[in-house]
C-alpha cells in the first residue's frame, strides 16, 4: 500500500518548480502576456533539459502520474508551452509504432506538438507547433505535421500564458495513429483529462497560497487581515476545496497507469471536479486579496484566465459528469 508521493516524485516536482522559478518568474509572464508570441522557447528548453518530454516513453520508468505531477507544477507557475500535447504525442507515437521519426525530437523537446481536441477550433500554442496531435473519441487519433493542410488564424487569446489560435486541419491530413475504436484513442483522451485536472490543481493551489501569504502580510485595523475570522474561514474553505482534491488527481493518474477498470471514470471525475475547484479558487483569491488582486500587475488574472481555459477545454465539468454518470451505469 502506497498512496502518497515517493522521494523521486517529490524530486521531479522540486526540479520543475526550481526551473520555472528561474526561467518563468512573474516578470517574464508579464512580458510574454503583452507580446504576440504563443510560445516561449527559453522556458520550454529549460523544462525539456530536465527530460520532461520523455516521461511517457514506454521505457522511462515513469507514467501519467509523473507527468501529472510535473503538469501540476506547470499550472502552479502558469507555464507557457503545450506540455500536455507534447506528452500525449510521445505516448501516441510510441504506442502506435507509427510516427517513429518524431519520437526522439519530441521526447527531447526539439520539436513541439500541441493537442487538438476533436471538435474544437481552438488550439493552444498552435503557431509554434511542429506537430498537431488530434485526439477525437469519435474519429481516432492523428498526428499532423504543421506543413500538411493546417490553417492557423491568430486570435486575441484570453489565456495569456497558453494563447490559443483558431486552427483548421484538412480531413485526412497527416497520419492516423489509432482508429476511433482502438482502446488507445479513449486512453489518450482520458490521459488529457487527467493532465488538465493536474494543471487546475496546481493553479488552484497557487492562488490559495498567494491568498494565505497576502493575508499574513497585509495589515488593516492594525493587524494582519488573516487574523480576522471572516477571511480566515474563507481561506480555510479554499484549502478545504483544493487539498483533498489532490488525491483525486493522484488516483486518476494511478488508475490510468495501472490500467484499472475505473480509470476512464476517474479521469472524467477528476477533470470535472478540479476545473470547478480551479474556478472557485481563483474567484475566491481575488476576493481574499481585495483591490490588489484586481490589478493586472499583481498577476492573479493569469491564473483566473487559465481556469477559464481549463474548465471549457476538452469538455465542461457538466459534460464529464454526464459521462461519469453513464459510466457508473445509473
Amino acid at each position: 500500500m502506497h498512496f502518497h508521493l515517493t522521494e523521486e516524485q517529490t524530486a521531479i516536482q522540486d526540479a520543475v518548480r526550481g526551473t520555472l522559478a528561474d526561467a518563468w518568474p512573474i516578470e517574464r509572464i508579464h512580458a510574454f502576456a503583452d507580446g504576440d508570441a504563443d510560445f516561449d522557447g527559453e522556458s520550454w528548453r529549460a523544462l525539456m533539459a530536465l527530460g520532461l518530454g520523455g516521461i511517457l516513453l514506454p521505457d522511462s520508468g515513469m507514467g501519467l502520474l509523473e507527468a501529472a505531477l510535473a503538469c501540476e507544477v506547470a499550472g502552479e507557475a502558469a507555464a507557457a508551452g503545450p506540455l500536455i500535447g507534447q506528452w500525449l504525442a510521445v505516448a501516441a507515437a510510441a504506442a502506435s509504432g507509427k510516427g517513429g521519426e518524431f519520437l526522439d525530437p519530441l521526447a527531447s523537446g526539439e520539436r513541439v506538438a500541441t493537442l487538438v481536441h476533436g471538435g474544437s477550433a481552438f488550439v493552444p500554442c498552435a503557431r509554434a507547433a511542429d506537430l498537431f496531435l488530434i485526439v477525437d473519441r469519435d474519429a481516432g487519433v492523428r498526428l499532423v505535421p504543421a506543413s500538411e493542410g493546417v490553417t492557423i488564424e491568430a486570435v486575441r487569446a484570453s489565456d495569456r500564458s497558453r494563447p490559443v489560435s483558431k486552427v483548421e486541419i484538412a480531413d485526412g491530413a497527416g497520419e492516423r495513429l489509432f482508429e476511433a475504436a482502438d482502446p488507445m484513442t479513449a486512453r489518450l483522451a482520458d490521459a488529457a483529462l487527467v493532465l488538465v485536472a493536474a494543471d487546475a490543481l496546481g493553479g488552484a493551489q497557487k492562488v490559495t497560497d498567494m491568498s494565505v501569504a497576502y493575508a499574513k502580510e497585509r495589515e488593516q485595523f492594525g493587524q494582519p487581515i488573516g487574523r480576522f475570522q471572516g477571511l480566515k474561514h474563507q481561506l480555510a474553505h479554499m484549502a478545504l476545496d483544493v487539498e483533498p482534491a489532490r488525491a483525486l488527481v493522484w488516483y486518476a493518474a494511478y488508475a490510468w497507469d495501472a490500467g484499472l477498470s475505473d480509470a476512464p471514470r476517474a479521469a472524467a471525475m477528476a477533470k470535472a471536479h478540479l476545473c470547478d475547484v480551479y474556478v472557485r479558487a481563483t474567484r475566491a483569491a481575488v476576493a481574499a486579496h481585495g483591490g490588489i488582486g484586481y490589478t493586472w500587475e499583481y498577476g492573479l488574472g493569469y491564473w483566473f484566465r487559465r481556469a477559464v481555459f481549463d474548465r471549457a477545454w476538452l469538455g465542461s465539468p457538466a459534460e464529464h459528469r454526464a459521462r461519469a454518470a453513464a459510466q457508473a451505469g445509473w
Binding site: 500500500m1 494565505v212 484549502a239 478545504l240 471525475m269
Partner: protein, 403 residues
C-alpha cells in the same frame, strides 16, 4: 502508487479469515445471556490472537501489538465482512482508556481499563456545559475537597453526553481552583454515576430522537468521588483532556461509511424515479467528486501513517469535509424525497426496531447532517483549526490566550 496491501498483509488476511470462520457467527438460534457470553468469549479469543485492543497492554486486557496500520486495517475489513463484533467502542475505549494509559495512576489503570474494554463500564463525557461549548475551558461545574480531604464534592451541570442513559461512569472537567487563570483551574475527575447526587435527563433532539439512546444532561448536587479518582495533577485537567480530544478526532470519519451513504443516495434517486433526470445525475456526480476526494485522501493519510510520514494539513480537514458533504447530500435527498418528507419516519432519529421505512427515512440523515456541524468540534472551530494550524494564519485575538 499501489493500493494493494502487499503479500504479507494478504497472508495475514488469510489468518484472520481462518480465525473468523472458526469462531463466528454464533449458532443462529442463540439468544439472550448465551449470546452475550458467546460474544464475550469471541472477543477474548480475538484479543488472544492480537486482533483487538492492539495498543493496550496485556496486563490491562489488551493485546499489546506493535503499531501496524496495515494489519489493523485488514482486521477492520475482515471483521466488518464477517459482521463480527470488534472493540466495544464508545467514549470509554476511545477516550478514557488512552487518557488513563498516558496520565492515570497504576491503581486507576487496574481499576478501570479491563472493565471498560469488556464493556462493563460505559463512560459518559462530562465536558460541555450550557455555558461552555466551543469555549470549553470556561467550565463552571465546581469541585471542592471534603473536610477530610479524601473526596471531591461536585456541583453543577454537564450536557450533550452520548450514551448518557447507559453510562455507568463519567470523566469530567471540573473547576477546582476558581481563582486561577481559566485553563489552570480545572481538574480531570472520574466519577461513579450511580449515586444520589447525580440526576440524568435525556435531551429531546430536533430529530424527535428521545428516550434511551439520545444525549443526556447531568445535574450534580453534592455528588462525590474519591480524590484517588482524580487523573493528573489538581488544576492540570485541561491538559489531561487534550489527550482525549485528539483520540476523538481520529475516530470520527470513515471513508467507507460515506461511500455507503452515497450509494444509498443513488438508490434513493432510483427508488423515486429520478435517476434519469440530468439535473439529478449532475448533482449526484458533483457530490461524488467530494466523496471520492474524501476517500482517496483517507488512503493518503493512511499511507503516510503506514510509512511514518506526516500527511500535512489534510488530516485537519477530514471532519469538516465529511460534514460539508453530508449537507450536500441532505439537500439533494430533500429534493428527491419531495412530499415523502411530509411524513415523520417511524422511530424518527432513534435506533432499534422500527420496521420497513420508505424514502421518508432520509429525514434522519437530513436532520442528522446538521448535528455533524456541531458534534466533535463545531464547523467554525474546524475552520479555525485549518486556518491556524494548517495554513499558519495568526490566532484570533479573543482566543490568543488559548492553548
Amino acid at each position: 502508487m499501489d493500493l494493494s496491501y502487499g503479500e504479507a498483509a494478504e497472508a495475514f488476511r488469510a489468518e484472520v479469515r481462518a480465525f473468523l470462520s472458526l469462531h463466528w457467527p454464533p449458532p443462529s438460534d442463540m439468544r439472550g445471556t448465551d449470546l452475550r457470553q458467546f460474544i464475550r468469549t469471541f472477543r477474548a479469543l480475538a484479543i488472544d490472537q492480537g486482533y483487538l485492543y492492539r495498543a493496550i497492554p496485556k496486563r490491562y486486557g489488551g493485546s499489546e501489538q506493535p503499531v501496524d496500520v496495515i494489519r489493523a486495517q485488514v482486521i477492520r475489513e475482515e471483521f466488518a465482512r464477517a459482521h463480527a463484533p470488534t472493540e466495544v467502542g464508545g467514549n470509554g475505549v476511545n477516550m478514557t482508556v488512552p487518557t488513563l494509559l498516558e496520565k492515570g495512576t497504576d491503581a486507576q489503570k487496574e481499576l478501570f481499563i479491563r472493565k471498560t474494554l469488556e464493556g462493563d463500564y460505559i463512560w459518559g463525557q462530562g465536558y460541555s456545559e450550557p455555558g461552555a461549548g466551543s469555549d470549553l475551558a470556561s467550565v463552571r461545574t465546581r469541585g471542592e475537597l471534603s473536610a477530610d480531604g479524601g473526596k471531591w464534592i461536585i456541583n453543577g451541570q454537564k450536557i450533550w453526553t452520548s450514551q448518557g442513559m447507559q453510562a455507568t461512569h463519567m470523566f469530567m472537567l471540573v473547576r477546582t481552583e476558581p481563582d486561577a487563570p481559566k485553563h489552570d483551574g480545572i481538574t480531570y475527575l472520574l466519577i461513579d454515576l450511580d449515586q444520589p447526587g447525580v440526576t440524568r435527563r435525556p435531551i429531546r433532539q430536533m430529530t424527535g430522537e428521545a428516550g434511551d439512546h439520545t444525549f443526556c444532561e447531568f445535574f450534580f448536587d453534592n455528588a462525590e468521588t474519591p480524590v484517588t479518582w482524580q487523573v493528573g495533577e489538581r488544576g492540570q485537567g485541561w491538559y489531561v483532556s487534550r489527550t482525549t480530544l485528539k483520540h476523538e478526532r481520529a475516530s470520527i470519519g470513515g471513508a467507507d461509511g460515506l461511500g455507503k451513504q452515497f450509494a444509498k443516495l443513488v438508490e434513493l434517486a432510483k427508488e423515486v424515479g429520478r435517476i434519469d433526470d440530468p439535473i439529478v445525475r449532475d448533482r449526484l456526480t458533483q457530490i461524488e467528486g467530494f466523496v471520492l476526494s474524501h476517500r482517496y485522501s483517507s488512503y493518503r493519510i493512511f499511507s503516510c501513517a503506514a510509512a511514518g510520514e506526516d500527511a500535512g494539513a489534510v488530516p485537519l480537514m477530514m471532519k469538516l469535509l465529511l460534514t460539508e458533504i453530508g449537507h450536500d447530500m441532505a439537500l439533494l435527498a430533500q429534493d428527491l424525497i419531495g412530499e415523502h418528507g411530509f411524513v415523520e419516519p417511524a422511530g424518527a432519529g432513534g435506533r432499534g426496531n422500527r420496521g420497513p421505512r420508505g424514502p421518508e427515512k432520509w429525514m434522519d440523515q437530513i436532520m442528522g447532517s446538521l448535528g455533524n456541524s456541531i458534534a466533535g468540534g463545531a464547523s467554525n472551530i474546524q475552520r479555525n483549526i485549518i486556518g491556524e494550524r494548517g495554513l499558519g494564519l495568526p490566532r484570533d485575538l479573543a482566543m490568543s490566550g488559548e492553548r
